[in-house]
């Protein structure tokens, strides 16, 4: 489940993405952001440390770079971004920054992520067909994220962003029972 990207985070991430895109280093920066997000998720007190007022910003930046592996393989845009976020006292934007970055990146390369839940596992062929169908529906290239949930009984649901395609038998049965309740 992706995090909800709030307006503030979006603003910082948009600046970062513009820089990264100019240098075509999106994939490296994304990996670094993900590493940071993971660390924050794993250790709740980490965020407190980043917000600590007396710890020097440069120390915090160095720590984050190390976690992100960016001390070994630095990118041009990541370090200035960290410095900006920390001097402004906005460490919490790092939590959802990776997700926000990915949204922008996907938009840029015209990619849509489809979370597919199906009653049975989909075959290779079904996956290709689904991909093609969704691609022609959205005019985007499609990346599938597959889950199986037998409680759907049959069919599947596909969620893309803030839209859901409901094609499961469970959904139809529910509609049917709602329809019949009117009589």
């Amino acid at each position: 489940m992706n995090m909800v990207v709030d307006t503030l985070t979006k603003r910082y991430v948009r600046a970062l993405y513009a820089e990264a895109a100019e240098r075509a280093e999106q994939s490296a920066v994304y990996a670094q952001l993900q590493a940071v997000a993971e660390a924050l998720r794993a250790e709740a007190r980490f965020l407190d440390a980043l917000k600590h007022p007396t710890l020097p910003v440069e120390d915090k930046v160095a720590m984050l770079l190390r976690i992100a592996g960016a001390d070994q393989r630095p990118t041009a845009s990541f370090k200035p971004f960290l410095r900006l976020v920390l001097t402004k006292g906005r460490a919490h934007v790092l939590e959802a920054a990776a997700d926000g970055f990915l949204e922008l990146w996907d938009e840029d390369r015209n990619l849509m992520r489809a979370e597919v839940v199906s009653a049975f596992p989909l075959s290779e062929r079904e996956q290709t067909e689904l991909k093609q169908a969704l691609a022609s529906l959205t005019n985007c290239s499609i990346e599938l994220d597959l889950t199986v949930d037998p409680s759907l009984v049959g069919g599947m649901t596909v969620r893309m962003g803030d839209r859901l395609i409901e094609g499961s038998v469970r959904g139809k049965l529910k509609k049917l029972s709602e329809g019949l309740q009117r009589y």
Binding site: D6, G161, R163, G167, G171, L180
Partner: protein
């Protein structure tokens, strides 16, 4: 529905066909925050204002605040299971409620769920909760009476079908009692009633239902209840549900009466919802659109033109005041929105004048046109006379000796006040009211002991019914009081008086009443 098997299978076939090829695209969102009956949701593509949205566990919500990066939803049921990250779906339907005849005789929640243990409420139709009120061209002025069965109201503050009349007063002054009696009196009139209980204890709602049942009124009444323990959001939508149920009858040429008991609590529920949705508070911390909200609701009461079927929806909103302060924000709003008010006074109530209607402060701005000729004829001057009597009464406290004329006004007024007292649950037919008021204004009780009047009033009615049956039936059939009929009535009353027992008569000169009994000091 009790369907025949072939009908049932036809319905099933239809429904299944509708599903056949259906793959639906709906908007979805993610819960960011939930609490206090409110959820903030991220996403929800193309959600409409007031659209129903579905949370996990079949929990419904209504999207109220559409903001830049989130949608504020009110939750329509228990929400303990909803958590951050949960998926929410749009439904494409504006918030709606069940409507139809099937609801009468039932106690339901604002969402149409049964609260009376009589099983699910199945109706054919649903309607959106919030619709625009009919415009002027679709309306006509109020023309038919809606009798409450309460002497003091039907004679002096008459209500017509399609009218909006406010019931206003402090706590425990008999507001609900008037509403309930009015419902009981709609028996055999074809007017169906909807009683909306907002923020009351569930025990009170149960009691109301039992009383209506006992008086044979439940069969044509629907109770919509959002109790004090329901979330503010549910209390907030309750009057819309009730109004929508009545509107459906109105639009099909029927007649309905809806009672909102009470809108003070409704305003508080709306204030709570608004503050939780972080809308800016205004006067008394109510959101700025509270006036608009109530006027939109009451505007839906109407008498439709003949071209529109001639149906009507009458509304009796109830407002509770604090220490008689009808100039507070919500009461003044409502007074200005409605077509008049019935103002109940604690002083009268405690003095035993029940219903405790303040004659001076109560008014019906449109109902007069709908009053029957016979009632207009006997009660034409009653309201003014009684209002000035109450003033004399207040003054007479200070006067030592009163002139003959003043004494007569007091004498008549005391007796009329007595004659207009009425117990709960005994609404009176309009023809009987006419006889009783005629008697009072024609001096029938002038020399009768005050405490005997109530009992004698009943005797008078029996007497006339037995000895002069043509009077009551004549009044009932024509709804007119002709000169000839008035003469006959006068004679009948004279006849009754000759047979009056000595013991009921006042012996000495009429004396002032002790000050402790003085009421109506305004």
């Amino acid at each position: 529905m009790q369907g025949r098997p072939d009908e049932v299978s036809a319905i099933l076939r239809d429904e299944l066909q509708r599903l056949e090829s259906q793959v639906e695209m709906v908007g979805v969102g993610t819960v960011i925050e939930v609490g206090d009956g409110i959820a903030r949701v991220y996403g929800l593509a193309d959600v409409m204002a007031a659209e129903l949205v579905e949370f996990p566990g079949e929990l419904m919500g209504i999207a109220l605040n559409l903001e830049e990066d989130n949608v504020g939803c009110i939750l329509m049921g228990p929400y303990e299971h909803v958590k951050e990250g949960d998926q929410v779906q749009t439904t494409g339907r504006i918030a709606e409620t069940r409507v139809g005849e099937e609801l009468f005789g039932r106690v339901v929640s604002p969402l149409g769920e049964p609260l009376d243990g009589k099983g699910v409420v199945v109706t054919k139709y649903t309607r959106p909760l919030e619709v625009k009120a009919p415009g002027v061209v679709k309306r006509q002025p109020v023309s038919e009476p809606l009798h409450t069965g309460i002497k003091a109201i039907d004679s002096m503050i008459p209500i017509g079908r399609g009218q909006r009349e406010l019931l206003i007063g402090d706590r425990q002054t008999g507001k609900t009692a008037i509403a309930i009696d009015t419902i009981i009196n709609q028996r055999d009139t074809g007017v169906k009633c909807i009683y909306v209980a907002i923020g009351q204890k569930s025990s009170s709602v149960r009691r109301t239902a039992a009383i209506l049942e006992e008086h044979g009124a439940m069969e044509y009444t629907c109770i919509v209840a959002a109790t004090a323990s329901d979330p503010a959001a549910v209390q907030y939508i309750a009057p819309y549900a009730g109004c929508t149920i009545g509107e459906y009858l109105r639009d099909n040429g029927g007649h309905a009466l809806v009672i909102y008991d009470d809108l003070t609590r409704h305003a508080k529920a709306y204030r709570e919802v608004s503050l939780l949705l972080r809308r800016p508070p205004g006067r008394e911390a109510y959101p700025g659109d509270i006036f608009n909200l109530h006027s939109r609701l009451l505007e839906r009461a109407a008498k439709l033109s003949e071209a529109e079927g001639g149906g009507s929806l009458t509304a009796l909103p109830v407002i509770q005041t604090e220490e008689g302060d009808y100039a507070a924000y919500i009461p003044t709003n409502l007074i200005s929105i409605t077509d008049g008010q019935i103002y109940l006074e604690p002083e009268l109530f405690y003095a035993g004048v029940r219903p405790a209607i303040s004659v001076g402060l109560s008014v019906s701005r449109v109902g007069g046109n709908a009053q029957t000729q016979m009632m207009r004829r006997v009660a034409g001057r009653l309201k003014l006379d009684l209002a000035s009597y109450r003033e004399y009464r207040a003054f007479s406290q200070f006067a030592s000796d009163l002139d003959e004329e003043t004494r007569n006004i007091l004498k008549r007024g005391d007796r009329m006040t007595e004659a207009l007292k009425q117990d709960q649950y005994v609404p009176m037919a309009i023809a009987e009211q006419v006889i009783v008021i005629f008697a009072g204004t024609h001096g029938c009780w002038d020399d009768v002991k005050l405490e005997a009047i109530t009992a004698l009033e009943a005797e008078l009615l029996t007497f006339i019914r037995e000895r002069y049956p043509e009077i009551e039936s004549g009044l009932r059939q024509t709804q007119q009081l002709s000169d000839e009929m008035a003469e006959r009535l006068d004679k009948a009353i004279e006849d009754f008086r000759t047979k009056l027992d000595e013991q009921y008569l006042e012996k000495e000169q009429y004396a002032e009443r002790p000050t402790s009994e003085i009421e109506g000091v305004e």
